[in-house]
Symmetry: C2
Subunit: 112 residues, 2 copies
């Protein structure tokens, strides 16, 4: 048991939420997402992100278009589907409820 494992565990739950949110703001491709998450100190690696994007796409929350790049292979630019937008709104509340629940549970007041 170490604090890194805990951090990783906590990240897990919010990854999809953050990724959908990032995509909702801008059409982006995988490396953009990695960079944005890294800027926010949410460390994620390729092996995590790609399968997750594929999953979200298969679930109908995302779609993408190929775009040629001048410096390498073509990129997949992702965007939210209508369903993805609705889902994101639900996730907003879900996250907020969790934050409230945690702050309730961890408040300093003793019960009893």
């Amino acid at each position: 048991m170490n604090i890194e494992r805990v951090k990783s565990q906590m990240r897990k739950g919010v990854l999809e939420y953050c990724i959908l949110s990032i995509i909702s703001k801008d059409e982006v491709y995988a490396s953009d997402i990695l960079q944005t998450l890294k800027d926010a100190k949410l460390i994620v690696v390729e092996g995590t992100l790609y399968p997750l994007l594929t999953r979200l796409k298969n679930d109908g929350l995302l779609n993408y278009r190929w775009e040629e790049s001048t410096s390498g292979p073509p990129r997949k630019y992702y965007g939210l589907t209508e369903m993805g937008q609705k889902f994101l709104i639900e996730m907003d509340s879900t996250w907020q409820e969790l934050v409230d629940a945690v702050s309730h549970t961890t408040s300093k007041t003793k019960k009893k």
Copy 2:
């Protein structure tokens, strides 16, 4: 993909944190913990909680003492070890950092 699965995923990461926090406030046994979590709308079932308590105990964050009950089998009352207390403090920051990271990532402002 459904919102329930997402909720469950988000819960995962904070369960240990919440449980340590609950135990830090009071010596409690499993049913107390379940009730407290339920009150905070963090749904957890026995099959989740017991293995988790055992894990935290094996990691040296918790200890317990048996106490006779007047209405059934004896109960395990859990308390935090010194190490558990230190760990809880680290988890406080970890959680706060995550909340900040998420709010940063999901803020409405477009980058670019």
